[in-house]
Structures are given as C-alpha cells and as structure tokens.
C-alpha cells in the first residue's frame, strides 16, 4: 500500500493551505462570516419563535391540558369535568411536572355602568395559577386574587378602558348555568393587569374558582386542568403518564395539538433553520470550490510528481480533502467563537419596540431574546463540514485522476 500516514497528509495539507496566504485568509473570512451568520440569525429567529410559543403556551395555559371531550368544540359550562382524582394527582407529582392548576373557563359577558363586553371568565386557584400562567408582575393596579373563594375580579387594563371602569368599581359578570339559566354575579374589581399582548387584556377576566363555581352552580367541577413541565419541547416525555392517569373519559392533549398553529410554528422554525443554514452554505460553497480548484490547478505538476513517485490517487484525494477539512475547521472555530461572543451579550434582550405593534400581531413581545441552542450550533457545524467535504470532492477527484505524465508536462 502506498499511502501517506495521516500525520504527513496533515502536514502537507497545512503547508499547502498557507502557500497563498491571501486566498486562504479571504476564504477563511468567508467561512467565518457565513458560520457566524448561520448561528447568529438562527439564535435571533429561535428567540423570536420561543417568545411567540411561550406567550402562546402561557395563554393556553400549560403544556398539557385536560378537558371534557366536547369542551374544545363547545366550551360551555355543561362540558365540565370533575376535579382531578387521586390517580391523576399522583401522576402529576412526577419530577417533570413543575406545576398544575385546575380552572373554570367559560364564555361570559362583563358589564359596567357604561358598556358591556364578551370575555372569557376564568375561575382560578390563585396559588397554583401563578405557577402555570399568571405573572404577578403584570398587576399594575390593586392586587391579584388571594384564594379561590376571593370575591373580587381581576381584569385587563385595556378592558378597564373599554368598560370605562376602574379599580374598586363593581361590574356584573353574566354566563349560563348547567340548566341553561342565566347565572350572574356582581364583582368588585380588585386588580388590573397589563399583559405582554394587549389582546389578552381584552379577553380574560379572573375570579376565584370557588366563587365562579358557586355562581355557575357547578359544584366541584372544572373546565380544564392545565399542567406545566417547564420545557415545551420535551412534553412528550411525561405526557403518556398523565394521559393514562386521566383516563379515557377526558381528553388529554399537549400544547401543539391544542393550538396547532403553535405546533406548526415550531416545526416550521426547525425547517426554516435548516433551509437558512443550507442557503448560507450554498453561497459559501462557491468560494470554497473556487479556492480548492485554484489550489489544484496551481499544483497540477506537483500532483503529477507525487503520482510519479508512487503516491496512489486515493492518497492525493485524501490530501486535497484534508486541506478543505482544515479550512472548514478553522473557519468553523472562528465562526462559532464570534457567534457565541456576539450572542451572549445580547441575551439580556434586544429592544425592538420600534416595530412592537407588528411583532405583537405575530404574538411576540417588544424585546427579542436571542436563543443560542446547542442543537442549532451542532446542526450548522455538521452541515458545513459534511456539505463542505462533499463540495470538495470534485476538485479533489480531478486532482486524483490526473495522468502523471500530462500533469508533469503542464506549464
């Protein structure tokens, strides 16, 4: 076998790479900028979509919800279900489940002395609700509910504007009881919240769960159980146990099935990242091929000489591929380092309030938090290495297939 040891191939490749410093440096700069662009833009997009998904999941709320089988088609009070039983309570004690809450959730009408609006009335258990959905920092006036028998009501700032009402004033909330009779009750506004998305402020009003159950004559029944696991991507790890414990009389669904738009958003994002990385790579590949082709053309005689001296064509191929690999590895190392170095200082958030209204329509907030994911970095690196080597095969193969005599006679 006439093969050079790896160390010798590496040494030859390294020295050949630096024969033309300027060309190698330009190519390295291109790979570095390309890799940086891949990772940086992916982190921005991931951050935006993460924000969109987290806002969406917070609004659901929870990564898993349990309902009466007909509730999602018709969210009325008749499609309620019993409060969680022992088996379900036990299933929700696994470490993956970080919080859960049960709520009454029905369509209602809220009236002030000035105006009336259609809303979603949430009867919540405040202590567990804040762990799953409600952010106490969004309360801008008054307080949140104290317990599930609290007789107060918390509404959004936008809703308060619409109703021309304010903290401390009374409003009437009206819905239907299980016998299709009007169920209504007067509430005093004890708190006003300001959500990240203004649309939420106009949709949800919060009352104590027991108070709402009494108003609707629901007994101990609830509309939904919302369960949170912390990481929306890994919900499938614990979903099965919850589904089994909840039984077949209810519907237990993950967030991506409850809101298929959010689910498809995640799938679309993964696809988009891949397409983005490949597009940047394609732009890079022209430079890479050009560099290698030029490097091969400049050394036709030398390649012929190596063959004449007894180097097998396959070893020539490895050597050219090794040059490409070295170039790619250096470019990747620099690109990754610069990407990490530029993303980490921005992880506190980038203020995009200039375009906040447009962003809100997409479900994101006015701060963009770049999300640097190891998986995205690995994907970008793998694609650059694999496609880079595949792209290099053509010039390497050309070099390996030279006829030694023709190559030696090249001027």
């Amino acid at each position: 076998m006439s093969g050079l040891p790896l160390k010798a191939i590496l040494m030859l490749a390294w020295r050949n790479l630096w024969r033309n410093h300027r060309r190698t440096l330009i190519m390295l700069a291109a790979i570095t900028v390309g890799v940086w662009a891949m990772i940086f833009m992916t982190a921005l997009m991931r951050g935006m979509v993460d924000d969109m998904l987290l806002n969406g999941i917070r609004g659901l709320p929870g990564e898993v919800q349990i309902h009466h089988p007909d509730y999602r088609d018709d969210p009325n009070v008749n499609n309620s279900m019993p409060a969680p039983h022992d088996a379900l309570l036990s299933a929700m004690r696994v470490p993956e489940v970080t919080a859960w809450t049960s709520r009454v959730r029905v369509p209602a009408v809220i009236s002030s002395e000035r105006d009336s609006r259609g809303v979603v009335l949430l009867g919540v258990e405040p202590q567990s609700e804040v762990k799953v959905s409600f952010d106490l920092e969004t309360i801008i006036e008054g307080r949140f509910l104290e317990d599930s028998s609290d007789r107060g009501l918390v509404i959004g700032a936008k809703m308060a504007d619409r109703l021309e009402t304010d903290l401390g004033k009374r409003v009437v909330v009206m819905s239907q009881d299980p016998d299709n009779n009007i169920a209504d009750r007067g509430f005093r506004i004890v708190g006003v919240y300001k959500a990240k998305l203004a649309s939420l402020e106009e949709t949800y009003i919060y009352g104590g769960r027991e108070t709402v159950q009494k108003m609707l004559k629901l007994g101990n029944s609830v509309s939904e159980v919302a369960i949170s696991g912390g990481d929306y991507r890994n919900v499938d790890r614990w979903l099965g146990g919850i589904q089994q414990a909840a039984g077949n009389d209810v519907e237990t669904l993950p967030w991506y099935e409850i809101d298929t738009y959010l689910g498809s958003m995640l799938a679309m994002m993964d696809g988009f990242v891949l397409v983005w990385i490949i597009i940047v790579f394609l732009a890079l590949s022209f430079g890479l091929v050009n560099t290698l082709v030029m490097a091969v053309f400049e050394r036709v005689r030398e390649i012929g000489l190596m063959q004449a001296l007894g180097m097998r064509p396959s070893t020539i191929l490895y050597q050219i591929l090794m040059e490409s690999l070295l170039l790619l590895l250096i470019g990747l190392a620099l690109g990754n380092a610069i990407a990490v170095g530029t993303i980490i200082p921005l992880q506190g958030g980038i203020d995009i309030s200039v375009v906040a209204e447009g962003m809100e329509m997409m479900g994101t907030s006015s701060m963009l938090y770049p999300a640097l994911k190891l998986n995205d970095m690995i994907l970008a690196n793998l694609i650059v290495i694999i496609l880079g080597l595949l792209t290099s095969i053509l010039p390497a193969w050309r070099a390996a297939s030279y006829n030694p005599i023709e190559a030696l006679n090249k001027t």
Binding site: P5, N403, L408
Partner: protein
C-alpha cells in the same frame, strides 16, 4: 538477469489532426546494473520509452516487464506501488515539492512507503551528505540553486535503493560543472550500489558516461552499442 524487457512497443499520439508515432515496434532488454543512455533528437521517442518503462505512460501495444512485474498489465494503484518500490525518477525540471524542505523531499518516498521516522531521518541525512548537501537539509527548494535542487531530486530517487533509476534529461538545466558532478554521482551509485540507470538525453557529455548507448529516431531504435571506455569517476 534482465532488469527491463520491452517487446514490440507501439505508441502514437494525436496532435491536432496529425498522428505522431512515439514508439514504433520497439524491443529492448536492459540488464540489471547496466548504465544505459537513450539518445536522439527531440521527438525521437526516448522520453516516451522511458515513461513506458516507468509505468508513467501506457503503450498502445506490446509488453513491458520490470524485474518480474508486467508493467503493461497493471492498474493505476498497483502501478503507483511499483514506481514507489522499484523505480527512482529524476526529471529534467527538478520537480521537488515546494512546501517541503530538502530533507522532507528526500523522506517523502520513504514516508509513502511507511518506513519508520528514525530510519527515514538517518537515511535522508546520509544520502544528502552523499550528494554534497550536508547542512542544507532544512532549506526549501526555493532556497537552493538548480544544481542543488537536482541533487535533492537524485537523493530522493535513490534513497529507497531502487533497482532502477530512470532519468529524463537530468542535466538539461545544469551548468557543465554541476552536470559533470551529477553524472559522476550517477556512475558512483551505479558502481557501488549496482543500481540500473536508464537516462534519456541528447547531451553528448552524458552519453560519454554510458556503458550502452541506444540511439532512437522517429520512435525506432536505430543503433544499440556497448561503449568500450565509458567515462568513470576519478576518485
């Protein structure tokens, strides 16, 4: 024992619409340890014959045997192996690898053969000393004169002690003093190491060193003579 046997070799080249005859039914036998010059004008076929013997070029027809190997029947990979293990090449242009030092150029063939580093280092040092390049081992080709580069190429060709050295116009780019030194070195290697030399040249000074002088024209051997008193190394 014959080192090289060529039987009825034919080779033609296409140049535009013209067919050029490189080798026209050439048959030749060269003994091991011989010192042969192929001479003739440009286009006579001497380089074509040399390349065919070394497996660098394939004849259209005929047989070539180097030692016990049928060169004309080998594929690219085995041909490369044969060149690596049996043949040393010296070209007209010095043809060194520019990114390697003199020592690394000499070691290159041994490295491809997989010889251990210590052995490579020892032998490359000795051979560079033998060709008069002691102290220049770490210079790259661009830092050496033409004669010094050709000496490195010769050192590379003989460092693995091949049975056969094929040299194509090895003195073409050298001044007369350096050319003489190189030929003296060839003769010494031929005499002391019993290496077979086949040299394609039209330099009459080189021909004077040959034990056997083969003249070619238009792809044919027109004369094949043993020389009675070839030039020899004085020392």
């Amino acid at each position: 024992m014959s080192s090289i046997v060529c039987k009825d070799l034919c080779k033609t080249f296409q140049q535009g619409e013209e067919i050029i005859t490189g080798l026209d039914h050439v048959s030749i036998e060269i003994e091991a340890g011989d010192f042969v010059c192929l001479s003739g004008p440009s286009g006579s076929g001497k380089t074509t014959l040399l390349n065919a013997m070394g497996g660098l070029d394939t004849p259209d027809s005929g047989q070539i045997q180097v030692g016990d190997t049928r060169v004309d029947q080998l594929g690219k990979g085995p041909l490369a192996d044969m060149r690596l293990h049996k043949i040393g090449f010296v070209f007209q242009a010095y043809n060194l690898i520019p990114v390697l030092t003199a020592r690394e150029n000499v070691e290159f063939v041994m490295q491809v053969r997989g010889e251990p580093a210590q052995e490579r280092s020892h032998r490359s040092h000795d051979i560079l000393k033998e060709v008069g390049l002691e102290g220049m081992e770490d210079r790259r080709p661009a830092q050496l004169s033409g004669g010094q580069q050709q000496r490195v190429a010769v050192a590379r060709a003989i460092v693995s002690q091949p049975a056969l050295v094929l040299a194509d116009e090895p003195t073409a780019n050298l001044d007369s003093v350096t050319a003489t030194q190189l030929m003296d070195l060839f003769v010494e290697l031929n005499q002391h190491h019993n290496i077979t030399f086949v040299i394609a040249t039209h330099d009459t000074r080189v021909m004077a060193y040959a034990k056997r002088l083969i003249k070619m024209r238009d792809g044919k051997i027109i004369s094949d003579e043993k020389q009675q008193h070839p030039s020899t190394v004085v020392s």
